[in-house]
């Protein structure tokens, strides 16, 4: 194959938030993901390049980066889908502090996950029987819709509300809260509505939908957040009524 002779112009972010892009020539191959391109630079061109990955197959959500200005999982994105005129630009995930080069600090993302009430509160113990759950029931169906989130933060990086509003909990955390709100096993369902009603809560979402459009797992945080808005609004009248 002649592809071996082809080169890609890959510019990658270097340094922390004050860094700059640096361009490398990377050999093109037939089956090559963005992560492969980044790895090649570190392994063969500049050993100091920093990035993060683990599973290589879209399960761990640690490899997300900005690719040509758009957040993506890099291990599952074929380079051909993003190269424009033989070039591609790769940066650290938006809306999070940059640690170094392509590695972002994901702590704020997870702090908000917890702050949104995204932690299961047990209503039973390991010694109780496993309760039956109707897999097709409306609650379980609603709860299951967002369960496959891999917390990759792609939606968080895509959302302009997060960019402008440091307190905003963000789509993934709120989606998790919505799942728990619909989970019959969760013992703190009412307190979730309080957790998502503060200054950084679900009401800040402008339904701009970038979360849903860019989620690599085809999840729909926007609708989950709408669900939270609906339930909190209902509750608002209930409390007053």
């Amino acid at each position: 194959m002649s592809a071996q002779a082809e080169k890609l112009d890959v510019s990658v972010w270097r340094g922390d938030s004050d860094g700059a892009y640096q361009t490398f020539q990377v050999p093109a191959y037939e089956s090559q993901t963005i992560l492969d391109v980044v790895s090649w630079i570190q392994q063969y061109a500049d050993p100091t390049l920093t990035y993060r990955f683990a599973c290589r197959v879209g399960m761990c959500g640690s490899c997300a980066m900005m690719v040509n200005g758009r957040p993506r999982w890099t291990c599952r994105t074929h380079i051909k889908t993003v190269v424009k005129d033989g070039a591609v630009q790769i940066g650290p995930l938006r809306n999070l502090p940059v640690i170094k080069d392509l590695a972002a600090d994901m702590d704020p993302f997870f702090d908000k996950w917890v702050a949104a009430g995204g932690v299961h509160a047990p209503s039973g113990s390991r010694y109780d029987p496993i309760e039956p759950v109707d897999p097709a029931g409306p609650e379980r169906t609603e709860a299951s819709a967002g369960i496959e989130c891999i917390n990759c933060s792609v939606c968080y990086a895509a959302c302009d509300t997060v960019a402008g509003n440091a307190d905003y909990l963000g789509p993934a955390a709120l989606q998790r809260a919505w799942t728990l709100y619909n989970d019959a096993k969760h013992d703190a369902r009412e307190s979730i509505l309080d957790a998502v009603s503060g200054t950084g809560g679900c009401h800040n979402c402008h339904s701009m939908g970038s979360c849903t459009v860019y989620c690599p797992n085809e999840l729909d945080p926007m609708s989950a957040i709408a669900g939270l808005k609906r339930e909190t609004a209902k509750n608002f009248f209930r409390k007053r009524g």
Binding site: S39, F53, C55, S125, R126, P135, N151
Partner: protein, 585 residues
């Protein structure tokens, strides 16, 4: 150059955040006296690295409906070809029942249900009952995400992107004082003293050219244990998954798993000539067990001898591309992302190193020979013997992780003060980790490739004495060259190449042990196949291998398997129980 070491203290230290590490943290918090400080340290981000997250098929547990703990146990012993430590296997099967209930009721996992609301269970190969609980084919994500939330929301100390590099004993060598780590983000050394340490770094046979585990797993734990003088067992037992994706040497996608279900559903394996070859090797064709299919593919690849076309092909199209797309949507998408058409075309596959059965010798309470050190999960040996059943891996890590947490929380009550480390060992470990920084910089990756080639060719799916001996030489060559290979030291913050070097050092150390253990086992059991000793040997006189570091290097000895629960030829199932409860396909 020298570097200052940060000194840090805690009561309970947990290394790794897979199923074992996270469960240990939760259980330790429940069982330890109030005020106990618990620290969790991990090479990546909490819950986002390791293999538990990658579990697809599911979790083995006997939950009635005819299935029993006894039956699960017997399947585990048969699967492991009578080599498992029977007490460990028993505890695994028995406690899995509690652990799955805990995952469902306390941790809040969603598992797939039957229409009547009960847990859905299916049968993996080698099981005689529908036993595997799952969440679609993304079971691991569900388990780890839920555990991760629990851990993140608790007041535990979290040391993320901290890599353990050495176990530091007390001066008299009788106990563990603490663990030397590198804070990867800054590149600084940090020595963490603790009364108890759980090692749950998850093994990971990534020294093979084709491998499935996550990139962060490089046998660091077993290498550290070896250097600390601990005995390791069953080190020759590397499980290969028959169908890893082959996407070229330059792609990290290469080696990742194409799920077992593809073959179960009728997927065919073809060679370059289009011949469906598996029936040449086994009457069950593609549905034979993992080890048999892996060997079939490997043998066919060897026959082929075409450097341009290395793997075999899996073909699903005869089942109807639309049908395949629907039934295996995740797999089809994944293949499509890297440019392959699984539903309608051919995808090139190779056997890929998947799981490591070997590990540190522990008792059923996860204690080791070194006071203060506990080991659980894939790092611990014994529960699986020569072969791990699909679905027993995550059960093992969650069961024993929880036990480790309970035991550490209890043991810490009679551990007074923190122990003083042997400062000479500490500085030796620092020097070891800093060695590349003093050498002339060169590329590390070609050496890793070299090791992976050697292991694949000489210590892989099929082994011979001469191949293993040659492999040993090649491993040592890589190891020696690594010692001369440097890493530029001007910026150690998040310096992945330095960590690549350290990864490769661990892999070389453990590769040598695997090879020596494989030489020591002169028969073929489970995952270990010797072409020069194809028989399984006497089951009654089954032995397992034990490797230890000595003055002269690594020694491997044999020890007799103790049949503490069931003897070969016998069963603990009640008389008249059917051999299998799974309807024949």
């Amino acid at each position: 150059m020298t570097q200052a070491i940060d000194r840090h203290e805690t009561d309970i230290l947990i290394l790794g955040t897979g199923g074992a590490g996270l469960f240990a943290a939760l259980h330790a918090q429940q069982s330890a006296p109030p005020g106990t400080k618990i620290t969790i340290a991990v090479k990546g981000l909490i819950g986002k690295c390791g293999c538990t997250r990658m579990v697809q098929g599911g979790y083995n547990v006997a939950l009635g409906g005819g299935d029993t703990v006894e039956r699960h146990f017997m399947d585990t012993i048969h699967g492991g070809k009578w080599l498992p430590d029977q007490d460990m296997a028993w505890r695994l099967c028995e406690q899995a029942v509690v652990r799955i209930t805990e995952l469902e009721n306390e941790i809040g996992c969603f598992f797939d249900r039957n229409p009547d609301g009960s847990l859905h269970q299916k049968a993996f190969a080698g099981q005689t009952a529908d036993r595997t609980v799952h969440k679609g084919d993304l079971t691991g994500i569900e388990i780890i995400n839920r555990l991760m939330e629990q851990v993140l929301s608790r007041p535990l100390e979290k040391l993320q992107e901290h890599r353990a590099v050495g176990l530091i004993p007390t001066a008299d060598g009788s106990a563990l004082a603490g663990v030397l780590m590198i804070d990867m983000r800054t590149g600084r050394f940090r020595f963490v003293r603790a009364k108890t340490v759980l090692m749950a770094t998850g093994g990971g046979p990534t020294m093979y050219k084709y491998h499935t585990p996550s990139g962060d797993k490089t046998m660091d734990g077993l290498a550290m244990a070896l250097r600390a003088g601990l005995p390791l067992r069953d080190m020759e037992m590397v499980q290969f998954h028959p169908t890893g994706l082959l996407a070229g040497d330059h792609s990290r996608m290469t080696g990742t798993v194409l799920e077992e279900g593809l073959r179960g559903a009728g997927g065919q394996l073809l060679n370059a000539a289009g011949h469906r070859f598996m029936y040449d090797y086994d009457g069950l064709g593609e549905r034979a067990t993992r080890d048999v299919v892996s060997r079939g593919i490997y043998a066919e690849m060897r026959k082929n001898n075409d450097p341009e076309q290395k793997g075999m092909f899996i073909s699903m199209a005869h089942l109807g591309p639309e049908n395949v797309r629907q039934k295996f949507s995740g797999m089809v998408k994944r293949c499509a992302d890297s440019g392959f058409d699984l539903a309608g075309g051919l995808v090139e596959v190779v056997p890929t190193a998947h799981y490591f059965m070997g590990g540190v010798v522990v008792d059923v309470d996860t204690r080791t020979a070194l006071e203060g050190l506990y080991v659980a999960g894939e790092d611990a040996g014994g529960a699986h013997g020569s072969n791990r059943l699909g679905g027993n891996g995550v059960a093992n890590s969650t069961v024993y992780g929880g036990i480790a947490g309970d035991v550490m929380g209890a043991d810490i009550r009679h551990m007074g003060a923190l122990r003083e480390p042997d400062e000479t060992v500490l500085s030796a470990e620092v020097d070891r980790a800093m060695r590349p920084l003093k050498q002339k910089p060169a590329l590390v990756q070609p050496l890793r490739n070299q090791l992976q080639e050697a292991m694949w060719e000489d210590v892989g799916v099929m082994r011979t004495a001469s191949g293993l001996t040659r492999g040993l030489g090649r491993i040592r060559e890589v190891g020696a060259e690594l010692l001369q290979t440097g890493v530029a030291s001007d910026n150690l913050a998040f310096n992945l190449t330095w960590h690549d070097w350290l990864n490769l050092a661990s892999l070389c150390e453990v590769s040598e042990v695997i090879t020596k253990a494989a030489l020591q086992r002169e028969n073929s059991r489970g995952a270990h196949f010797r072409e020069d000793f194809p028989g399984e040997g006497s089951i009654e006189e089954s032995y397992f291998t034990v490797a230890r570091c000595s003055e002269t290097g690594v020694d491997v000895t044999r020890e007799d398997v103790q049949f503490t629960v069931v003897k070969p030829g016998e069963t603990i199932l009640p008389e008249g129980e059917p051999e299998t409860l799974v309807a024949a396909q």
